[in-house]
């Protein structure tokens, strides 16, 4: 059913349609509306057979989900940013234990400095935890990916993180087609765990594994996650048939067929990029974009196939691995490894801490990549004046205090009114 609805509410309804049995809620901006939404559905009785547990921290949230999932219940939770880091230990643990928990990540920057706005630092911090990470471009896709996530998680006994840009999607009201219960039930069978805590069939789950078998355990986790590269398209196909629309897949291409410049990005920014691609195509530029849905597992073969013919690959990503550069760019670089005549790779860091990524800036970026390429990571719309002054000042005075504070002071001095 088509609705004009806030993204968080749409996701809440979709999650409820997946019949989760245990939901763990802890507030953190910007995912809060989602669990509030599901919680209300539990309270009203619209979502039956569901324990909604208000926990005392994100660490507990995922831990409760771990217990519930190990005991055979379909478990769900949501978090963001600091919350994900606070539960980091449990994030790895859930994956290690092979528990098919689904978690929404309302992507948000990580402090300090504290920042509640969108970027992908949080997802990147947990990219190696063993979870499948799927990035939604729209709220429609966010809805569909959640339904797909439960199917995928339970098929593989592996947790899935659905990454949704905080505010940009979670708080955006837009048109979303919410499937009905019968459609979801037909797509998503009841949870039938491979292993479960059961007094009838006792086992010890969570053993200590030493050097003699740890490598094998990790190999198997890696092997298992790669199965998702096959399953995600398969399930997306099923879902398209059932719901009458294409969602998911490991990635989607837009006007890449003859593109000399291919942009790669994840999440909601892909929409803006598509608009820019259309504009530039209209101007004659051979440009396309790849929207990467599955960041983990990383679709190396698929990316090689698509990117190989291009001359330039521009990676636009909302995170910075301090000291290295863009982690997505690094992964793309890895995908192109040893490729003969491989395209040039241009890494751009954009939208950190919620800075708007505008069409204008992107156009400039794509032109520059082709005409005047840079080395290393490019920070889109960087206030070079502010950083230049700070670098200069730090060179002069040691112990100059917090860089963030200093830049804020400078900005305030330079521009008394924040931009509208």
């Amino acid at each position: 059913m088509l609705k004009q609805i806030e993204g968080s509410q749409a996701m809440a309804q979709a999650i409820a349609l997946c019949r989760p049995e245990v939901i763990c809620a802890y507030p953190i901006t910007p995912q809060t509306h989602i669990v509030e939404g599901v919680g209300a559905l539990v309270k009203t009785g619209d979502l039956e057979n569901c324990e909604f547990i208000n926990v005392e921290s994100e660490f507990a949230a995922l831990s409760v989900a771990i217990g519930a999932s190990a005991a055979g219940a379909r478990a769900y939770t949501a978090t963001a940013s600091q919350g994900l880091l606070f539960m980091a230990e449990a994030v790895y643990n859930a994956a290690g234990l092979g528990l098919p928990i689904v978690m929404t990540l309302g992507n948000r920057a990580i402090g300090a400095p504290i920042n509640i706005w969108n970027d992908h630092s949080d997802a990147m911090a947990m990219r190696d935890a063993g979870w499948i990470q799927l990035f939604a471009e729209t709220n429609q896709e966010a809805v569909d990916l959640h339904i797909l996530a439960f199917r995928l998680a339970e098929e593989l006994s592996m947790p899935v993180m659905v990454c949704v840009d905080g505010f940009i999607l979670t708080h955006a009201v837009e048109r979303v087609d919410i499937p009905d219960q019968a459609q979801v039930d037909a797509f998503l069978p009841p949870y039938d765990p491979v292993q479960v805590l059961d007094p009838e069939h006792p086992a010890s789950i969570g053993a200590m594994v030493g050097p003699e078998a740890f490598t094998e355990v990790r190999f198997l986790a890696h092997y298992k996650q790669q199965q998702a590269l096959r399953l995600i398209p398969a399930f997306s196909g099923e879902l398209a048939k059932a719901f009458g629309r294409a969602s998911g897949g490991v990635l989607r291409t837009y006007r890449t067929e003859d593109a000399e410049t291919v942009v790669v990005a994840m999440g909601s920014v892909c929409g803006t990029i598509k608009d820019v691609v259309d504009e530039m195509r209209d101007e004659g530029a051979k440009i396309g974009v790849v929207s990467l849905v599955s960041y983990r597992p990383f679709p190396v073969e698929e990316l090689r196939r698509i990117l190989a013919p291009a001359k330039n690959v521009v990676v636009v990503e909302k995170s910075i691995a301090v000291g290295v550069g863009g982690p997505l760019a690094d992964n793309i670089d890895g995908a192109l490894r040893n490729l003969d005549g491989r395209p040039k790779l241009h890494s751009a860091i954009a939208g950190l801490g919620g800075r708007p990524i505008t069409r204008a800036s992107l156009r400039r970026l794509f032109h520059t990549a082709v005409e005047n390429p840079w080395q290393g990571a490019h920070f889109l719309d960087l206030n070079e004046h502010a950083v230049g002054r700070e670098i200069h000042r730090v060179r002069k005075i040691r112990r100059s205090g917090s860089t963030a504070e200093n830049i804020l002071r400078q900005l305030a001095a330079a521009n008394p009114l924040p931009p509208g």
Partner: protein, 343 residues
């Protein structure tokens, strides 16, 4: 015939009932199987079975089997255990062998209470009667697991949390925890300098904090009093909601004591008043186990190398008196002296 001093029938029956040799021992050949302790039974579940890698004389291994076997009997073996990281976890489940014989889950060091909440929630939503126990050492309970534990208490989740309190981080090599007693030497409170060992005036006695959550049941116990321990576990399993039992389990390695003294130390901890044994229901202390044969705390301390610095050069350190004062305070607070109404 005139009776001089003889037992009245009621009195005699009372005495016979408790058959002197069987009052405190694990079993008693003269009472029926049902009246004996779980541990006396040939059919006990041995939930924690042989072949585990605990040190010789491990109090925790003992306490865990006591508690879980009792819970197994109380639940007709319809039980799931969640374990925090720590000695108990490491010595029972190193790949490829486990010593547990019930469904058991280990997740992390600090989240056992929350994981157990999840298991309990799953059982509720699945409409199963299966009961849930979370267990961990004092580090996993009073320190790193404290937040999850408090949350579980506060929500009154249907979980019995058992803390095996050996007063330190033994798994990592005997470091101080918030359950380490004053003056005790640990790897992080070495017995050097002007104030050797752990400082006075710190630490926390978690059972009181548990009581402050107004949960249905809180109790302390030791491996030295099996009947008391089993009774408390059985009682806990008869209650739904959040429950907490803290069991004193001496650690021969960490305490620097002979492996054969494990139970004796637990006994002396109680009999000195250092470790008050009580139970509380809904925020109120309802019973305190009386001291049977009071001993000065010195007798307890002197058996342990972690307190050896208190007895150097044949002179008692003034800290011994301070520890005795702690015992005396416990005795006064919980009313540990006098006749015990319950045996």
């Amino acid at each position: 015939m005139t009776q001089a001093k003889t037992l009245q029938p009621e009195e005699a029956r009372q005495k016979l009932k408790f058959y002197q040799k069987g009052t405190f021992t694990v079993g008693n050949r003269l009472v029926s199987e049902e009246e004996r302790s779980v541990q006396a039974s040939e059919d006990r579940s041995n939930a924690l079975t042989s072949g585990h890698r605990a040190c010789q004389g491990c109090g925790e291994a003992l306490g865990a089997r006591y508690a879980i076997d009792a819970a197994m009997r109380a639940t007709d073996s319809d039980l799931i255990a969640v374990n925090a990281t720590g000695c108990l976890e490491v010595f029972t489940t190193p790949y490829p062998e486990t010593s547990w014989q019930l469904p058991w889950l280990h997740s992390l060091f600090g989240n056992a209470a929350a994981v157990a909440t999840g298991v309990a929630a799953a059982m509720r939503v699945k409409k199963k009667k299966t009961r849930v126990i979370a267990q961990g050492g004092d580090g996993g309970t009073t320190d790193i697991g404290f937040q999850c534990l408090s949350g579980m208490f506060e929500r009154n989740d249907d979980v019995l949390y058992i803390c095996y309190d050996n007063e330190g981080y033994m798994n990592t090599g005997v470091q101080r925890s918030s359950a380490t007693p004053p003056a005790a030497r640990t790897a992080t409170t070495p017995a050097v300098g002007p104030s050797p060992g752990n400082v006075f005036g710190t630490g926390k006695f978690l059972p009181k904090i548990a009581v402050a959550h107004n949960i249905p049941y809180v109790a302390t116990a030791t491996v030295a009093d099996l009947h008391d321990l089993e009774r408390k576990v059985v009682k806990a399993m008869s209650i739904h909601g959040a429950r907490y039992i803290q069991i004193n389990v001496p650690c021969p390695l960490g305490w620097g004591a002979a492996s054969c003294d494990t139970i004796k130390l637990a006994r002396l901890a109680v009999e000195s008043g250092l470790y008050p044994i009580f139970e509380a229901e809904h925020g109120r202390v309802t019973q305190a186990r009386k001291i049977r044969k009071q001993v000065p705390v010195r007798e307890y301390l002197i058996l342990q190398k972690r307190f050896a610095h208190l007895f150097r050069d044949g002179v008692d350190d003034p800290r011994v008196a301070r520890l005795q004062a702690i015992c005396d305070a416990h005795i006064a607070e919980y009313g540990l002296l006098g006749e015990d109404n319950e045996v």
